[in-house]
């Protein structure tokens, strides 16, 4: 069972990036919090993501103390938790998304405490059964990965790891060796948000990552416009992750509004870039 599962999950990201390479396209990975602003609107957001050209999904589990996130995601998490939406319900929502979209790669962004308190093995089993392909743990650096590696392997989950321009040349291969799916390069130091700047040495980081790993590299933090996407692809990224910007657009919509503007917005970011 676990071997079969492993084969299935690995193939979702591998297939995706192989196909994108052939088509000379970049990956567009939108992010939102599961259950936000309501479970129903969250499902509609995912529909808009897929219709807008999302190649994979990054979905977050709300946490009381998201130290790596900016004000928008902090507040969104609070909204979800104040509505009483717990981890079991979150996994129920994930299951619905997986049933509707059997082929799209899905990774969950979590804080480590949620994994530990549920129990590492149980957490990995539950999210796998709900349909996740992978996991990004915001506050688990490479030093701690050994704690969860056996459970990840057993359940066929891939671990997306973060790299930055401050990551040393010695650390980079260690991180890459523990990762699967893709590497998440942050465009700048700081927290999530739509602030428009990126580190000048980002191109160097992407080149270094290429040298020490075959994994695709996607860039996140501060990506909100077509020109940002073009810049990142020119610098050598295989794709982009768009979080706060797309959530800000969702927030602008009223509860009765159509979610179609989100789809149109994502289409502007997903259109192929001819090199």
């Amino acid at each position: 069972m676990s071997t079969l599962k492993q084969a299935q999950t690995q193939s979702r990201y591998d297939d995706l990036f192989a196909r994108l390479k052939q088509e000379k396209r970049h990956a567009l990975i939108p992010f939102t919090l599961l259950g936000w602003p309501t479970p129903q609107r969250c499902l509609e957001s995912v529909d808009a993501f897929v219709a807008g050209g999302a190649s994979a999904l990054e979905l977050g589990l709300a946490f009381s103390d998201p130290v790596a996130d900016g004000p928008l995601i902090q507040q969104a998490g609070r909204t979800v938790l104040e509505a009483g939406f717990d981890v079991d319900q979150t996994l129920g929502l994930l299951k619905q998304i997986r049933q509707k979209y059997p082929h799209i790669p899905i990774s969950l962004l979590v804080y480590y405490n949620l994994v530990l308190v549920r129990g590492i093995d149980r957490f990995c089993r539950d999210i796998t059964e709900a349909g996740a392909d992978g996991l990004l743990i915001a506050d688990l650096p490479v030093e701690g990965i050994a704690e969860i590696k056996p459970a990840l392997d057993q359940h066929g989950l891939q671990l997306t790891s973060i790299i930055s321009t401050r990551t040393s040349a010695e650390r980079l291969p260690k991180i890459a060796a523990q990762s699967g799916g893709f590497l998440y390069a942050v465009s700048r130091l700081g927290i999530t948000g739509v602030e428009e700047r990126y580190d000048q040495s980002l191109g160097h980081l992407l080149a270094q990552a290429r040298q020490c790993s075959d994994l695709p590299v996607c860039v996140g933090f501060g990506i909100s416009k077509r020109e940002h996407v073009e810049t990142m692809i020119r610098l050598g990224a295989d794709g982009v992750i768009v979080g706060s910007a797309v959530m800000a657009k969702i927030q602008e919509l009223g509860p009765e509004d159509s979610i179609e503007p989100i789809q149109r917005y994502l289409q502007t970011l997903s259109t192929p870039i001819i090199p």
């Binding site: 946490f63 009381s64 103390d65 998201p66 130290v67 790596a68 900016g70 004000p71 902090q74 507040q75 609070r78 938790l81 717990d86 981890v87 480590y112 405490n113 949620l114 994994v115 530990l116 308190v117 549920r118 915001a138 506050d139 688990l140 650096p141 490479v142 030093e143 701690g144 790891s161 973060i162 790299i163 930055s164 401050r166 990551t167 040393s168 650390r171 991180i175 942050v186 130091l189 700081g190 927290i191």
Partner: protein, 395 residues
Amino acid sequence: MQSLGFFGSFGGVYVPELLVPALEEVESAFLEASQDADFLKEYHHLLKHYAGRPTPLYEAKNLSKRYGARIFLKREDLLHGGAHKTNNAIGQALLAKRMGKTRIIAETGAGQHGVATAMAGALLGIPTEIYMGAVDMERQQPNVFRMKLLGATVHAVEVGSKTLKDAINEAMRDWVSNLQDTYYLLGTAAGPHPYPTLVRFFQQIIGEEAHQQILEQAGRLPDQVVACVGGGSNAIGIFQGFRNSSVQLVGVEPAGLGLETEHHGAVLAKGTPGCLHGMKSLALQDKDGQVRETYSISAGLDYPLVGPEHAHLQNTGEAVYASATDAEALAAFHTLAETEGILPALESCHALAYAQTLAVQGTPEQIILINLSGRGDKDLHQVMAQQEGAPHVHA
């Protein structure tokens, strides 16, 4: 990292990848500095001539009579700044200077660490910014004013429970955005490695002095050393002088309105293993691992986690941990004021209150050494509110 800073199964480095290089830099600078005679000379010079060390060890004879045991108070309340926090702030600010950092940030709950950091920043000429929960700013206004007078910028944190844990979250967010020039001066023996070890190093002076002083004054070691525990820096500092001896180490947590209620901050008594603020420790949290809001009359103890070394000491039995309620702490405040003419910080009152329980169980010859970690001027507003019958609550 040269070490991951585990105390048994607690501690470690659990932070976003972006912070790891910064922690490596702090660890490396600390390891060098702690072996550097010139650095230690400057640190001890400032502790003596600027901060006023050694602080006295005072035998409180009136209180002893009231409690029925020999009570000694380690007077960290007489340290410049009014609390033990100055030891750590001066040590870390010197470290920041040595690392060439041009900006210091810190979090604060009761404001004492913020005041100590602002003092150290002013002293060493390093611009300082303090994060403080809006609820804590309201109940600790004199300290907010002090920080501003000392030239620090104080940022009100309006998210979450608006208390210490949210101030730490904001400070970490600031740090991750400004790693090149900023030093994060963490105030308690908690957080990711190397902070629990580093803060213990700068606070162990309390225990070293107390060990020597009690031998001089009483001719023997005490039966118990008692200290309040929020994050746990004053307790770890004084415990350090009495490790591996016959002395019983006792930490006292805030029981708030009672351990049977939801309104307390007794992490060692009621917490479960968790991971937040860069460390594995015990935490007050729900079934999913969402961190709970805590409660204590004392802002300095209002923290849903505890320093990892305390969680370890509890596991091994090297220290024992008890708790005192708001009402017991307040009663101890009045008792010390009336018997000895000392206004203690509400944090320290938790240790004072539990010392009475220990005294009742022992003999008049029993020696109890209490770490009076800070003075109570900052808490007068809280105490006055209680006198007037206004219930102490915060969201």
